[in-house]
């Protein structure tokens, strides 16, 4: 399956997406590091193509035994898709502890902690999608972020129908033993607006 679609997703396409997301991720990481007052490490984003039923393979936390905290924010407009923040629950619990100063007595996430995680997801996702929208001059409509818990694999329930391009990046806050993954899943047919950026006549990436 992948090889067939590799042709649809050229190296240039991948580069564009990676760059768009990378800038946003950089901002998000900065915001997060300010919130937790610690350095946030990022890996290079990976771009992959998937059918929604194969999506769980893309999730590197799929191998984790822990339940996953998931913050999901849909977007539509110039390009459609969903942004997803996935944090294994022990990490999520520690993250809430760091942010609120409330000791994490257990890995359980109650409603108030869910709200904190939702906010974190919201900040990170807005940073990423905001820069994407700005730079590509895409008019995006955003849904409200929503918190969910899932056992691995996490993304089957949130995946869009049909073909997806997934840009995902792993992050970690080493000083607090927190790790997570941010993935932006684009609905393939809606990526036309992004590919238009490859047109030499189009303006280059706009400054943020």
């Amino acid at each position: 399956m992948l090889s067939q679609h590799d042709q649809l997703l050229s190296e240039e396409h991948e580069d564009v997406l990676t760059e768009l997301i990378n800038i946003g991720i950089g901002r998000a990481a900065y915001t997060l590091s300010e919130m937790v007052d610690s350095r946030v490490g990022l890996q290079v984003p990976t771009v992959s193509f998937a059918q929604c039923e194969g999506i769980e393979k893309l999730q590197r936390h799929a191998s984790s035994e822990d339940p996953l905290s998931v913050v999901l924010q849909p977007f539509s407009g110039g390009v459609a898709g969903r942004a997803v923040l996935v944090i294994p629950r022990p990490s999520a619990s520690r993250l809430v502890g760091v942010l609120t100063g409330m000791p994490s007595e257990s890995a359980e996430i109650d409603v108030e902690r869910e709200a904190v995680l939702t906010e974190v997801g919201n900040i990170i996702i807005n940073s990423v999608l905001g820069s994407l929208g700005n730079m590509a001059s895409l008019n995006l409509d955003f849904g409200l972020p929503r918190y969910d818990e899932s056992h691995p694999p996490p993304l089957v329930s949130v995946a869009l129908r049909g073909s997806l391009v997934v840009v995902s990046v792993l992050f970690q806050i080493q000083s607090h033993a927190i790790e997570g993954e941010l993935a932006v899943m684009f609905d393939l047919p809606s990526l036309g607006g992004v590919w238009a950026l490859l047109d030499p006549a189009a303006p280059r990436l706009l400054p943020a």
């Binding site: 108030e112 904190v116 700005n134 955003f142 849904g143 972020p145």
Partner: protein, 651 residues
């Protein structure tokens, strides 16, 4: 904002305000009026960040502005956000708000506006806080409970190890006490077999009886400690359950007869002559029950009944000891098998005993795969029954011979006591003789009608039958007496005297089925003429062994240690080597190993005061043929000598 939009937001149960891109408040809903006490008219048109400077912080202002420019909603969670506005009512209470900022286009011509919605989640937070406190307390309590449980485990371990230590101490002490006791008993035995005046004999018999009682108590304590320490092992060796029952009854018969009690064993035909199990422990349980029954019965009888039932590959020996004693109430029966429990507090004072006997019996029986129970009725006596699991063993060849030879004989049994008659009849039947119980009155008529070889009759029955032994011709009359009266020559007209209860071998001898191995009731021994080497360092034990062996007609050589034993036996072979375990220079096992290394093939019998199976196994491993337990029992030693000397001949 249109009037309709404002009306709509006035009805939302959340605090709502709308600002434009410059931060000017364009709407303030009724809920906010209530919360803050600030009227809409007073705030509208003011800059939010001027009116409430804390909202100018980037955390609020930048994110509101981001929503305005980007369109992506902003979420401010209650735990990370202070309430936007101070409350007038209930101002002491700390408030928690979840804030959502979304971009709206209030009118077609106007620019984007930010709708800020505040949801009061104070109640939710307080509930959560209570829950968190509750779970903190619960987990603290759980931690305390865990610690308690851990302490309990430690305490339990300590208690158990204390119990084990106590058991080991008792076992060790009992062992230490048994060794000098064997000296006392052995010397008493030696003295009793010497020339004594009646006065001396009487005193030494008291000495022997007291020492024996003490040994019983020691053995009880030792057994109990071994069971407690998990050290007691059940053996699997071939034995004849009938003879175990007979021996047990004979052992206690004298006590029973002294109280004028009848004592009999009735062994069912289903009981085989050979089974594989632990004869010593079986006998121990039986003797314990018999002794108790005799102890607590003042008149009447004590009867043992033994049956065997097949259960798959195994055999179950069912044994019941019934008495005609006082009986016990139900509640006493229930606690009878607990350690240190006796039916009544005064029992110990009246009858002595450790109160361990039944507890030990129950544990032994359970170790042998069965259980023990009691049925009792006040004034009607008690029945203690138990079963043990054994395995069938191949029949002994000479046992079969007895049966074929015995079939030619028919005997009549006429005894005053019914159970004794039944018991004797069963014994005779098991020897292959056709035996029938006959009422004393019918005896005379029976002798004329039937071709009888022997008549077993006791004095009372003989008197009632009207037979005169001096004139009677035909069947041989065997007079059944109590053991004390069975020694000496039979009176005129009487073929033989047998004691009731009687050893089966003795019966067979009287019937002419076997050659006498030991005449009488086993009080004297046929000279063996064996050359026996005794390795023993203790002076007392040397003396006991020498006296006993000499009385068996053996030639005895005594050496004080294992090294000397090796040298003596290597120089000239002995018929039997009797080897002590603990000796200076070279211990028994070491000496045995050395002898076997030198190809010494004669029988070596170990003698140990330890009844522990491990030590006995060590002896056998070292190359000994068998192990005898000290104090040496005269009969046991004699039988062992006969057995191993015979095996040597056969080899």
């Amino acid at each position: 904002m249109t009037g309709a939009q404002m009306a709509l937001l006035d009805h939302v149960p959340n605090g709502c305000l709308v600002v434009d891109v410059a931060g000017t408040v364009v709407f303030w809903n009724e809920v906010l009026e209530v919360w803050t006490g600030i009227r809409r008219s007073a705030i509208t048109g003011l800059c939010l960040y001027d009116a409430f400077p804390h909202l100018a912080a980037p955390r609020y202002r930048s994110r509101i502005e981001q929503t305005l420019s980007l369109g992506a909603p902003t979420i401010l969670s209650a735990l990370l956000t202070k309430p936007f506005f101070p409350r007038t009512r209930d101002s002491e209470r700390r408030r928690f708000e979840q804030v959502t900022v979304t971009r709206i286009f209030a009118a077609s011509k106007s620019g984007p506006h930010a709708l800020v919605t505040m949801t009061d989640v104070t109640e939710q937070h307080e509930r959560g806080e209570r829950f968190r406190q509750e779970s903190r307390r619960a987990s603290a309590e759980a931690e305390i409970r865990r610690a308690h449980a851990a302490n309990l485990v430690i305490a339990k371990d300590l208690a158990e190890s204390a119990t084990r230590a106590k058991s080991f101490f008792l076992a060790a002490m009992s062992h230490e006490l048994r060794t000098p006791m064997s000296g006392v008993l052995g010397m008493a035995d030696v003295l009793l077999h010497s020339e004594l005046t009646p006065w001396q004999r009487e005193h030494i018999e008291v000495l022997q009886a007291s020492a024996s009682s003490l040994l019983v108590v020691l053995n009880d304590v030792l057994d109990f400690s071994k069971i407690e320490a998990g050290k007691l092992e059940i053996e699997s060796i071939a034995f004849d359950p009938r003879s175990v029952v007979d021996e047990s009854v004979i052992l206690v018969a004298e006590t029973a007869h002294a109280k004028d009690l009848e004592c009999a064993a009735i062994v069912g035909p289903s009981v085989p002559r050979r089974v594989v199990g632990d004869p010593v422990r079986f006998r121990q349980v039986l003797v314990n029950l018999l002794s108790n029954a005799i102890k607590f019965t003042t008149q009447g009888e004590v009867v043992v009944r033994l049956e065997a039932v097949e259960e798959g590959d195994a055999l179950v020996l069912r044994c019941a000891v019934s008495d005609t004693g006082a009986g016990m109430p139900q509640e006493t029966c229930a606690k009878l098998f607990e350690p240190f429990t006796q039916a009544a507090a005064e029992t110990s004072r009246l009858h002595g005993g450790t109160g361990l006997g039944l507890s030990i019996s129950r544990r032994l029986v359970r170790l042998m795969g069965g259980d023990i129970r009691v049925a009792s009725a006040l004034a009607h006596g008690s029945v203690f029954s138990f079963e043990v699991r054994v395995l069938p063993a191949p029949a002994v060849s000479d046992g079969a011979k007895v049966v074929t030879r015995g079939r030619e004989r028919r005997v009549a049994v006429a005894l005053a006591h019914d159970a004794s008659a039944a018991s004797l009849c069963a014994q005779l039947e098991s020897s292959g003789v056709e035996a029938a119980v006959v009422a004393p009155e019918d005896l005379a008529a029976e002798t004329t009608r039937e071709e009888l070889s022997h008549i077993f009759v006791d004095a009372a029955a003989l008197a009632r039958s009207g037979l005169d032994p001096c004139t009677f011709r035909g069947a041989k009359i065997v007079l059944v007496t109590r053991p004390a009266a069975s020694r000496g020559s039979p009176p005129e007209g009487i073929h033989a005297l047998v004691s009731q209860p009687c050893r089966i071998t003795n019966l067979e001898h009287v019937l002419g089925l076997t050659q006498a191995r030991a005449p009488g009731a086993g009080a004297t021994y046929e000279p063996l003429g064996l050359r026996v080497l005794v390795a023993e360092d203790d002076r007392t034990n040397q003396l006991i062994a020498a006296r006993m062996l000499t009385s068996f007609g053996c030639v005895v050589q005594i050496v004080p240690d294992g090294q000397a034993a090796v040298e003596a036996a290597s120089a000239e072979p002995y018929d039997i080597v009797l080897m002590d375990m603990q000796m200076p220079v070279m211990a028994g096992c070491e000496a045995t190993e050395e002898l076997r290394r030198r190809d010494y093939s004669g029988p070596i019998l170990g003698a140990t005061a330890s009844a522990l199976a491990e030590e006995q196994n060590a002896c056998l491993q070292a190359g000994m043929n068998a192990v005898l337990t000290k104090p040496l029992d005269r009969r046991g030693l004699y039988d062992a000598l006969v057995h191993w000397a015979a095996s040597r001949m056969a080899a």
